[in-house]
Each structure stands twice: as C-alpha cells, then as structure tokens.
Symmetry: D3
Subunit: 243 residues, 6 copies
C-alpha cells in the first residue's frame, strides 16, 4: 500500500534544515518536513528568571505559535483573542521540556535561551519539526555564547542531541511522519522525542478513535525510533555545514 | 526496598470512590488516591456546542482546576490572574480526551456532559485520580439522562470503562501510583490511561532527568496496565453499590 | 406557619464545623449550614504586601469562589471567562473586612493570612457560612503561627470572634438563615456580621421587591443578633475540641 | 462641635442638580454634593438583554467609574489594567439595584436604560451622589421615552423616587453626608438608600474600626432618613424646573 | 457656500479654555471646541518609569478616553470589555508625542507628568481639542512643579507651545475644524499639530473616500496652520488669566 | 554624502516581491525591503462582519504583527502578554485603511479579505513593506475569487494600486526608505501611502526631535511620491510574472 504522497510507511518526508535564516537571532533555523515550515529562533540573554537567580544555573524555554494563515482555514490570532489556547500551551511546554533534556544547566551558567518556534506553513507534524529545528538553533546559540565567552571555557552545556517525529496508525497501518491529511485520518497518533543515542525524552500517544493495543504501541515506537535516528543524521549534517 | 509510605512498588494507594457527593450534579464523585482528593461532577445539559449543532451527536468535555490551598504552598487563583495556565489547560484536555474515548456520540445524542474535576487536596496523581473519578461521575450522569429519557431508549453511549494511573522510576525502581514526594524525585514520569479491556487511551511519558530506555518504558507500561485493571475493579464495585 | 424545611422562623439550619479538613493549610474548616458547604482554608505566609512593608503590621485578606457545579445549574468558571464577576468581588471583600474587624495588626506582626472560601455546594447563605467558618480557620492559623513563634510571645492578634448569618422577609415573615428556596422568594434580604459580644461588623440589607420599613429592619436585626450569638457558641465548641 | 467645613452634624453639603448637561443622552445630570461631582447619563435603547427577551419587561442597569484624576492621587485606568476592580463592581451593582427598586418593569416594556455615573471629582459620597443624580436622569429618560411613544400611553414605569446619603460616626459623633476627610476618619460608615416615602432600599453599614452597637446604628439611620428626605425635595425641585 | 453651523470654511468653532477645573490635579482644563468638551488633567509625580530611572530626564505621557455616552450612541466601556481599542491607543499615543515635542526632558528632571484627556461630550475634533487643552494643563502643572521646587530653579522644561486642529475636504471644499456631521461626510480628513512658531509636530492625513492630490494637501495645510495660530493665541490668553 | 548602506538619498533598498509563498492562502507574498521581510497573506471568506450583512458590500481588513525575534532584541509575544500594544493596533489600522482605499465594496460583493502581515525580520519600514506586499497578495486573492466566481463576472473590485514608503530627515538630509539605523537617528519620520496615479491615501509625518518646517515637509513628500511610483512598477512586474 502506498501513502497519499507516494512514501513507504517508514519514510520521512523531505526534511530541510536551513541555518542562519535570521540576521538578528543568536541561532535561527527554517526547518521543513515536507510542506510544514517552522521558523525556529534561539535568543540568548544574560541572566535567568527570578526564581533561579543566584543558582549558577541557566534556563531554556520555548514558545510555539502558528501564523493565522499557516493552516488551510485562517485561525484567529491568539493576541487578538487575548489568550493563548490550550494546544499552544501544551506544545510550547513539550518543546521546552524536550530541549531541556539535553541541557546541563550548570555548564550553561546563568544565561537564558528562549526558543521561538513559529509555524509559517502547517501540514502536520509542526511540533516535531519545531523540536527538530529548535535543537539546531539551540546548538548554534550555544556556540555563539561560547564564542562570546558567556559560557565558561571548557564547559559543554549540550549533553546530547534531540529530535522528534510523529507516528500513527492509518487504516490499520503504522506510518512514520504523518502529513496533515494522514493525521486527520489516524486512529492513533503519537509524538516521540528521542536523543541521538536512541533513548526517550517524551512519548505521547493518543487514541483518536478506538484505544490501541500493546503490540500497536510497540510497532509505532519502532518506527519512531528509526525516524528519529534519521533526523539525528540530518541535524548533524546541517550543523557540519558552514553557517 | 520499601516505599516512603510502606507500599510495595506495584501497590496502589488506598483508593476510595464516593458517589453522589453533591446534591445538584447529575453525577458526582469524591475520589481519593491516598491524600489526593478530587471532586468530580458531571453536568448534563441539552444541546451541544454551536459547531456540532444538527449533527445528532453529543459532546463530552472536562475542566480541571486546583483549589489555591490544595497544595503545600498556596497558589494564585487562575481567576484572579485572569488566565489559565498551561498545566491546567493540558490536564483539562487530557481528561476530556480520555473520557471521550469511551463515548459513542451518536448514542449519546445532542446532549453535552461537562466534567468538572476540582482538586480539593493534592498529593501527586491528581490527573489520574480525576480521570478515574470522572468516569464514575460520567456513568452516573449517563444513567440519569437515560432515566430522564434524554437519551433514546436502548442506546448505550458508554462503549467501555476508563481509568488512569501514574507510574515512574524513582532511584532506578519502577513504581506505581506516585505520591507527591515520589513524584518530585522521579527520573521518569508517566501517566497511562487504559480501558477496562486493557487497551491504551493515552500514554504520556516524560524524562524528568536522564532520557529513558525502551526496556524501562516497557517495565512502566506493565505496572500501569496492572494498576488500571485494579482501578477498573474498584470503579465497578463503586458503580455496583447503591448511590 | 412552618418553613419549607420544617424550621421555626428563628431557627438556624444544622450547622457543622469540621476543623483540620486539609493536610496542607495552617487552618482549614469544612463548614456547613444545612446543604451549604464551604471549604475555608487559612494560609499563613511571612511578610506582607508591598504597601505595608516595614510597618510592623500584618494583613488578612480573603478570596471567595464557587465551584462551577456547586449550584443547581452549572456556572462558567471565572478562570475560563478570564475575569472575576462583581458578586465574587463583593463577597471576597465582605469576608476580608469581617475578619479584619477582629484582628490587631500590630499583634499579628508582619505576616499575612489568606482565607480561601470555596463553596463546594450552595444552598443559600454561602457568604455567611464562609465568614463563620473562616473565623475558625483563622483562629487555628493564628494558633499555628504562635506555635511556630511567627507571632511574638504574649501577643494576641485576635481581639474577638466573628460570625455571620442571613435574615430575610418571606411572605411578610422575618426568617433566620434562609435556604436557597427561601432566598429567591425573599422580599428583603439582609446579611449581618456580628462579634461575639453582640456588636455589628457589617449590616447589608437589600430590598429585593418592595422597600422595607424601619420596624421590619428592626425585626430582622433582632433575629440576626440571636442567630450570630448561637453561631458564636458553635464556633467556641468547635475550637474547644481537639483538632 | 463643629465639622471640618463648618456644617452641623445633620447638615448636607451644598447639593446641586444640573439637568440636561449632555446633548446626546436621553437624560443627563451633573450632580454635586459639595466638591463631589458626578456626571450621570441615562441612555435608552429599544430591546432588552437576551435573557429577558420576550418577557414584555424592561431593564435598568448602571455603570460607575472614576476618572483617573478625580481623586487626590491619580489612579490607574481600569481599561488600561484590563479589569474592573472590586469596588467599582460593588458600586455599579448598588446603583443598579437602587434604581430598579422604583421601576415597574412591565410598565417600562421591553426597553433598556443604562445609567452611567462617572465621577469627575471625588470628595466622599460618590456612590450616594451618583444614586441621587441617576434618579433624576432616569426620570428625564423615562419622560423622553414616553414622549417618543417607546413606553405605552398611560403607563408609569416609575413607582417612586429614590435618593441616597452616607452617614458615619466620627470621633463618636454621628454625622450626615461625610466629605472625604471625615470619611477616612470614620469609625463606622454607612450608606443608606431611601425612597421618597421613607422606606429603605439599601442599608450598608461597615465598622471601619471597632464594631458598632445597636443604638449607634439607630442614630445613624435617623440621620440618614432625614438626609434622604431633604434630597428627595431637591430632586423634586430639579425635576420641576424647565430642562 | 455656508457650513452646517453657519461658519466660513476657515473659521474655528467657539473655543473655550477653562483652567483649574479640578481641585485635585496639578493642572486641569475643561476645553471646548463647539459642543466637543474634553476634561484635561495633568498629574505630576516624582520619579520616572523604570526604563528611564537614573537618566536625570523626565517623562510626559497621555491617556485619552471617551465617556460611554459622550457620543450619540452609547459605546461600551473599555474597562468592561477588558481591553483598549485601537482608536484609543492611537489617539493616546498622538497626544503624548505632541506634548513631548515641546518638552526639554533634562530641564524637567526626573518627574513624570500624565495627561488624562477624557471626552465628556463629543462632536468631532476630540483629539485636537485634547491636545490643545492638554498643553494648557501641562503648562499649569509645570508652573506648579516649579513653585514646589520639584523643577530646579531657572530651568524651562517647556520649549514652545503646541496646538492642534482638524481640517478636511467636504463636498470638494477644504474646511477648518470639522464638527461631527462634517467629519462623517469628509472625503479627506487631516489632523495637524503645530507649534506656536508655525512648525509641524504631526501631520496625519487620511483619504476617507477618493485619494487626494498634492494641491488639496497643500490647501488643507494652509488652513490648519492658520487655525493652529489662532488656537495658540487663545491658549496664551487663557494662560495670561488668573487661574 | 553617502548613506550607511551606500545608497543615494533618493534610492530604495533592494525590493523583492515573491508571490505564492504559502500553499494555503488565496494570495501570499514574501516582500522584502532590504533586510526587512514581511509575509503577507490574503484570506478570502464568504460573508461579511455582522454590521455589514445584507448590504451587498464586501470588507477588507488587516492584522500586523512581529515575530518575537524579528528584531534585534527579543520582544514579548502579544499573545502571552494577553493584549495588543498600541503600535500594533495603529499599524494594523493603517494597513487596512490603505488597502480599502483601492477597493470598490459593491464590486467585491459580500466577501471578506483578511490581510495578515507578519514581520519575519525587521530592519525599518515594516509597515510600508507590509502595505506594498499586501497589495499584491490582495490582487492575487481577488483574481482567485474571480476564478471561483465568488465575485460576479465583469466586476472589478480593485479601483487602483497602492504602495507605501517611509521618508525622513537624517542629519538635515531628506532620505527615502529608511533602514532601522537611519530610522532611529531621524529627526522627522514620515510614512506615505500613494496610489499608482500619484495621489495620497495616507500621509503620517511625526517630528521625532525638533518640529519640521513646511519646506521640509514638501521635500519629503517629493521623495515619497517618487519612491511610491518606483514601488508601483515593481508591483506591476511581480503581478505580470507567472505565479
């Protein structure tokens, strides 16, 4: 059975990672997973939030948002509505946790990195593209801060790499990296965040239709682990290039 | 190794499910998992949200909140701050999805059930206690609506049962149903929502410290499935009692 | 003429005052006036609001709220609406003023006590039950702070006791402690807050239908003063018990 | 003992009621109680709020606000803060209830009158001046609506007149119509709203310092009833004049 | 061709500038341009906003608002809606910029002047009346601060005078100082803020219907410059009078 | 004198207009003026806002926003702050008015076009780039709606073209199309919106430092008119290309 866009079940969409997209940010990446495009910027500031002051430890946080017409139907701006929706909150928190999993706060020292992930065009998998791109932006920002001596010499704030991918069961078949059209038809939808050495940072599986069995869960995890390993390679290639 | 409160690793805290706690709500349950106490009420109203009108299908939604002094340190009221925090949003959405997983919207017909889960006292596992209690309140509310002929005769809106439990790895040992003190020390924290027939509705695992391996994930899932099966029994006993 | 629930016009509903309801709060009371149940917690923190710093004086404040399904028809959450309604504001302010009337700020010293009064079930008289219960929670919190030496030895921050009751005219008859069904039918509705020595802290009378005459006002005040005296006894009994 | 501004204890400040202050509103009054100046406008619109539609009954509501520099120290604008404070809510509700006490909704028919009471300059007693002025604006608006045939011929929506005054105990002496300087020194503060025939619409007494005794309450009520009677005369004189 | 109110095209409405309208504010002016009436108060406080502390320089800012029934149809209060509209923001910013154009921050020293411009009655030109009146209130406040030695002796914080007027093209004819009825019919609408020496602080021209040509723009600027010069005289006369 | 980036005073930065940037929107343009990059999308929906229903006329509106790290220093998200700032409001309104100036509402019929202008990277002139790009997105959206027969055959909703540019006086020299570094140093700053036939839609000039003279205003207008004419050519070229 071939997928809507001709991929095999275990195939990622075309992934591109364009570093240095913004002239202002300390790290910036335009990441695409097929038609999904997310602009990830990493902003470094000296100091940490009040509750962390004097701890000698740094902080990393994230904010996710979608442009109103990144989707097929225009959505209201959250700034105009005056409040952030639950989905936005949930994804911002997921991105933040995922990147903090590979940060050594002590090595970072008292600086803050804010990762802004703005979806310019959405076609499924925006949160996993955001995590994958944000890691590269974070790596560039950390390198920048090391260059500026904001991080003490010899310290390595990044303890690993992190990437994320969605998997799901569509018409009974487990698929890797769902596009929007697959996503809306999925019976089960899972987002998996892995480190480069194949361990889990986050596993979030949801039954959209009927609840799923243990063996289905296992099949999805297999797909996701392989997908993240491939994304890890792409991140390394991007970071190996000249910015 | 014995746990902080003397339990074995695979032992639930004392769980109580007190039905009919409120005189006003169509279903109401005061659920406790040890010192965690959540008041779950189910409110039935005729009609559905605007986007669902005329579909012939019903709707189930949930709202979670904590009383300001349900925790060790008093928290600000979200009503006073004027906005709902990300954690609250995330948990409300999780509870709603979990209960919708066992609802047949067509059989429900155009009525709405709102599940309010208010944490009166928190000691870890508030979201899983809320889901477990809310299922019983929902079952009572559905029975009430059947009695009032708001649901057509012969229709069965509940397609199964649902319960939830937390699991986590503390000092390298996988534990079931973490209390607060265990929760803050957990390296990995997972919330699992299962149906009575042992399938998964939600699996949400998070590495709080170091990322976790596949075998650790498997161990946690084993514990959680057994815990949910025991909660399923307790729900059935509660529902078998006279309200 | 007998009342809807068989009481005489000058009879309180069954009042219970359950201390130590919460394991976290410095003082906590589940108070009921008939079917009205309010959870009152007193939270002690060192320090005072900014405008009071350095004064050597403490502060006491209150927040009142209703759970969405504490009433017959589910109300929207104020946190979801993003703002606090006028009624909530008004009652929170009333509770705060009432309890501050028996506090000696100097003796309290620079600590703050926040009284949270959350209505779990409403059947009329929620604000008067809240004040009556909050006084007991406050007394327990003050005792706790004395035990912790947060209040200087020998100082007595409580200058008296305070209780509150509603009165109203229904079908021309003045009644004490209205339940909801009486309250909606009342032509005149009054809330009276008294100290244990029979003086007034607050008198708030409102003509719901036709304006009321001076002699009607006098009759209501007589009833209220007697009701508060009885509540004062019940508070003393509760505080005399072992917590 | 003479008062700060030379008045006797039972003397009102100079009260002026200037009708027709605004060219746009259906009724408008600039009322002053000494240096307190409140602009009261009555706006008539056809139709009623949704919850009252089809009832054949009208509605009257009020909104109170203070200009930022109406007071000695500039206050933040509530529009800038993004929320209405408790005091504003409380007073708006009081004004609305007070005027609804003299309205026959059936006779009014399905029209709405909104009373806006904006304090241009504050020197104590702003809520009582607002009620007293708003009554006159309401009377003008009702007359306007009768002239426009928005109210059926022969119907009398106004069932009486209403005025309000503050009283308080300063240095042990009961005083009528407190100015700001007296108000801040008052041990007890009471606002009383009366109809023209001497009955009570609202009685709101608060102990600012020590709780007050029954005889003190009685003394304050005597003063307030006499003050309202005098205000009733001034309202009649204003309404007898050509607008 | 004569205008709706009998004026010639280059004629201002009757302008009155009443100083000292409020007993509390350091400067206060009730300004009217025909039926448009704006209360402008200037509030002086020691200190400056945080971002300016320690600079030795002062700050001037403005807030504009309309009373709900200042207009022909009652508008919702921005405080009730919980947010400030775009028009209000825009005008507040315009007033602030206009007055800052004639302030020497160094000479002012670290004090803040807030100009509140509240429209009591609107009939077109509220923003230009507000600027014209606010200048006079500011001048009085600066004089007050000099009298109180809050401004160092010999320093002159005001570097000039400022006034504003609207101009527009109605039925092809350029008109000065539009009233509301002219304003809604204008094809082009322009607000011009000038200093007393005839230079421009702000020029804001908008095509309401068809875009306008360069020569039309020139004609409007001629009218506006002459109008501002006349307003400058009226401001000087007002300031020359005894307050 | 040469400019910071080597341009002559009357020279635009490199302007690019990339059509069809988004797969979802009915019209979409990535416009750049030098390093300033704005994504402009035009969303077409059937129907109009409530106040316009049944009029037979369409509506065009705009929303402007900046990504948090589009600027040199990261700004807070307006969605997180819960309110839109004055500058955002002001620019959104300016863009909407500018585009409505070339729309024939009758010819458009009852459809709505929303123009979202999101600044991806800012380097001065974001509002003028937004207007210039939004016009092209609007033209594409109108063509799309004509193709879909949402606009009646033969009707031409676009009555002209519109473009915008900033001008300012820096060190006494009038300059066209200021970059950020020039903008912060400008004594006078003006944004001019012109139609393709050289008429004015908006003229907004502000003295940032000293007020400006009539001849300076004239010099700036000359520059702006020439700049807009050049932008008009670039828009035509872009629209002539294959999308």
């Amino acid at each position: 059975m071939s997928r809507i866009d001709g991929r095999t079940p275990d195939q990622l969409r075309t992934v591109t990672i364009e570093r240095g997209w913004s002239k202002h940010a300390e790290g910036s990446v335009l990441v695409s997973f097929g038609d999904t495009r997310v602009l990830c910027t990493a902003s470094v500031t000296e100091g940490v939030p009040r509750w962390r002051k004097g701890s000698g430890e740094g902080w990393v946080t994230a904010e996710y948002a979608m442009l109103p017409r990144s989707t097929n139907t225009r959505g209201d701006r959250e700034s105009v509505r005056g409040k952030i929706g639950g989905r936005t909150h949930e994804i911002s928190r997921l991105i933040g946790r995922s990147l903090r999993a590979v940060i050594d706060y002590k090595a970072l020292g008292e600086i803050t990195v804010v990762l802004d992930c703005d979806v310019l065009q959405a076609d499924g998998g925006t949160r996993t593209a955001a995590i994958t791109g944000a890691y590269v932006a974070l790596a560039d920002a950390v390198a920048w801060a090391q260059g500026k001596k904001l991080i003490k010499a010899g310290r390595k704030p990044l303890t690993g790499t992190v990437a994320a991918v969605s998997v799901g069961i569509v018409d009974g078949v487990p698929l890797l990296d769902l596009c929007y059209e697959e996503d809306v038809r999925a019976e089960t939808d899972m987002n998996v965040v892995c480190t480069g050495d194949g361990r889990f940072v986050e596993v979030q599986g949801t039954a959209e239709g009927v609840p799923f069995a243990r063996e289905e869960l296992n099949g999805l995890l297999d797909l996701a682990v392989a997908g993240c390993a491939r994304l890890d390679e792409l991140q390394r290639e991007a970071l190996a290039g000249v910015r």
